[in-house]
């Protein structure tokens, strides 16, 4: 609708300037989101350390880790397609972030274009990129890791989608902007999370969210004891750094999506606050729970969260 405003009818120079400002805004926005994501991971390590009776690293430890990893001299790669996979892996979530309402932080309005189907299929690009890289890495452990990550994806995708579709059923629209418009920003009563038929869908999706973010008890993909950190087996220096950045970006994206759909995240700041709240809840589960076996996790995910979310959906549609 408003593509015209960007590529205005003004002279060539103004148009070029507009494009430059836009790219700068986009770069700043992505940088900010990744920084907040890394900050979240810093809180995660501090939180789990304190649960485990120890001091734990400083909160800015992930920034140091990323700098160290990106400055490694000769990370091993098998084939240029390995690098392509990693670039695609990081590019996916970054592109996804542009469609979330978080981008009002720098005054962009791409999020008006984002709708649920695009978000769901853009979220797949990141894992697919790293899956390709792990496959090129040709280590059997890498293949098992990817196999588990994809099985888990099949596992948590069903309840998560059912939950989101319940919201789409209630608001009758796929556009994120309209969904957040249908909810109030700060008053919990206005959030979909606490409205009657939707609370079931929200609970189902919330359990699945634990799998989406691959926190325990559904973190089979990188289970160190069983498959030596699965997918990340062949990722050295800068490839591991880019994977950390991807983890940070997708953390913001997944939690942002959930916040928009169930907690009414409209502008950037309130969504970030809600993301923090969701993150604290998630890591408190992660700190104390164990890890299911892949088939147990799949059965658990396709049983209780799916039933609850389906109930929520059916009640919304028919009641």
């Amino acid at each position: 609708m408003n593509t015209a405003t960007v590529v205005g009818t003004a002279s060539m120079g103004a148009k070029f300037l507009g494009a430059l400002v836009l790219t700068l805004k986009v770069l700043i926005y992505l940088f900010l989101m990744v920084m907040i994501g890394l900050f979240l991971m810093g809180i995660y390590r501090k939180f789990t350390a304190r649960v485990q009776y120890r001091v734990g690293p400083p909160i800015w430890q992930p920034y140091i880790d990323v700098i160290k990893l990106l400055s490694k001299k000769d990370a091993a790669t098998k084939n240029w397609v390995f690098d392509l996979g990693v670039i695609m892996g990081l590019g996916g979530p970054l592109a996804l972030l542009l469609f979330l309402p978080l981008d009002t932080i720098v005054g962009l309005n791409f999020h008006t274009k984002g709708d649920l189907i695009l978000i769901l299929y853009l979220a797949v690009v990141g894992p697919l990129g790293f899956a390709l890289a792990a496959s090129v890495g040709a280590s059997p452990w890498g293949a098992i890791g990817v196999g588990r990550a994809l099985s888990m994806m099949l596992g948590y995708e069903l309840p998560f989608i059912l939950g989101l579709l319940a919201v789409v059923a209630k608001d009758g629209t796929l556009l994120l902007q309209k969904v957040s418009a249908a909810q109030s920003m700060w008053n919990p009563a206005g959030w979909h999370y606490f409205q009657w038929p939707l609370i079931l869908a929200a609970i189902g999706a919330h359990i699945a969210l634990q799998g989406v973010m691959s926190e325990k008890p559904f973190d089979q993909a990188i289970a160190p004891h069983e498959i030596a950190s699965g997918i990340m087996v062949e990722f050295g220096g800068k490839y591991l750094g880019m994977m950390l950045l991807m983890k940070a970006a997708s953390l913001m994206a997944e939690l942002g999506l959930f916040a928009v759909f169930f907690l009414g995240g409209t502008t950037a700041w309130d969504t970030i606050v809600k993301i923090f709240a969701l993150f604290i809840i998630a890591i408190s589960f992660d700190a104390v729970l164990g890890r299911f076996r892949p088939d147990q996790a799949f059965t658990v995910l396709w049983k209780w969260p799916t039933i609850i979310a389906l109930l929520g959906l059916l009640l919304t549609v028919f009641a």
Partner: protein, 377 residues
């Protein structure tokens, strides 16, 4: 014509190396697995990464030198080696050690048992993913290492028992500190139970994992807590009492169905049993004041009369024994170290792992408490 619907077996095994450097392996040990996707078809052990040929080195050292060497055989529980070797020398030479030395040796053995079992809880916590259990267990284990340091001067390799008794008597106030630590540990163990007992994830992962029957266990040379987990009350401290165990009264801890959860619970309840034994020993030590050592020899080189003796005791891993041959010289003629992992890893693991999931391999390996150094020696 096979209906090509869901093909679950691929008859295309892959050679997977749970090799020396793998977070799922406890210690420097390796398995070569033939795997079909995540199902294990066949397993073979590859030992020898920690082989230092102890038995050859012991023949080249005098009796007293060996006592400095043998704690390094089994790292998680070094005192087991010291006791067995010294008991064998005393049995060949026919020396009778004073009761106080017996009590002190039993205290050291029971404390080593608690520290080894805490390490077991830590490794099981890591396998299931409950990392707080790992952190807490290792953290609390350090209190016992501090007690060892106060008693013997070293945290892990104590070199405290020598032929005829123990090197030093118990320092002042040590028994009170021991009592205090035991009370602290009991409080902490309740926290562990909250973390593990009613956690659905841990129950689902461990209950029913690799169950074994008593006949299967004895046929495959399974000893120690793994055997007691199958339901038979066989504990060498009761059947073949050594040190001061015949003077202590305790019940042999057993579980019923012999799966990973039963093995976990046997060890968890044996920590309580050790705490109770230590309390009895503290009372006995406070009343007894005989000398801490009977040393019928002078200097560091003494001869042991010609003869042979086999002493085996109940270590946390299983039956741990020393068979010592002496030809009357200053050096032992031949020493054979009987480690429990030789049967556990070589015979049991290769047989029980077939058909299990790869995700459970590290848990099964941990639940049997496989400790590679006493296989490689």
């Amino acid at each position: 014509m096979p209906i090509r619907e869901l093909v679950v077996t691929y008859d295309f095994p892959t050679d997977l190396h749970l090799g020396p450097q793998h977070p799922g392996i406890h210690g420097n040990f390796a398995y070569i697995l033939k795997v079909d996707g995540e199902k294990i078809i066949e397993a073979k052990i590859v030992p020898g990464y920690l082989h230092r040929a102890f038995e050859k080195l012991m023949e080249r050292r005098t009796w007293i030198n060996n006592i400095a060497l043998i704690p390094r055989v089994c790292v998680p529980e070094p005192d087991v080696n010291e006791y067995a070797f010294n008991a064998a020398i005393e049995r060949i030479a026919g020396w009778e050690i004073p009761p106080r030395a017996k009590y002190i040796r039993t205290v050291v053995l029971e404390m080593a048992r608690i520290s080894a079992y805490l390490m077991y809880l830590a490794s099981m916590g890591g396998g299931v993913g409950v990392y707080p259990l790992t952190q807490w267990a290792f953290g609390d284990r350090d209190y016992i290492l501090d007690l060892f340091e106060a008693l013997t001067g070293a945290r892990v390799y104590h070199i405290y028992m020598i032929a005829g008794g123990v090197r030093r008597d118990i320092p002042e106030g040590w028994l009170d500190k021991l009592e205090e630590t035991l009370k602290y540990l009991e409080g902490r163990l309740k926290e562990y139970d909250k973390l593990v007992m009613n956690s659905a994830v841990v129950q689902r992962r461990l209950v029913g994992l690799a169950p074994i029957t008593p006949e299967y266990a004895m046929e495959h040379g399974v000893t120690g807590p793994n055997l007691r987990a199958t339901g038979v009350p066989y504990d060498l401290r009761k059947l073949d009492p050594y040190a001061a165990y015949d003077e202590l009264d305790f019940e042999v801890v057993t579980e019923k169905d012999g799966d990973a959860w039963a093995r976990f619970m046997v060890r968890r309840r044996e920590i309580d049993q050790s705490i109770d034994l230590l309390r009895q020993l503290i009372d006995k030590l406070r009343k007894d004041d005989t000398p801490h050592i009977h040393q019928p020899y002078s200097g560091l080189a003494f001869k042991v009369p010609q003869g042979e003796a086999y002493v085996h005791i109940e270590s946390t891993k299983g039956e741990f024994g020393y068979y010592v041959w002496s030809d009357g010289g200053f050096n032992p003629y031949r020493v054979f170290v009987r480690g429990p992992t030789t049967s556990h890893a070589g015979v049991l693991m290769e047989d029980i792992v077939v058909g299990q999931e790869l995700a459970d391999f590290s848990l099964i390996d941990g639940s049997f408490d496989i400790c590679p150094p006493d296989l490689d020696k």
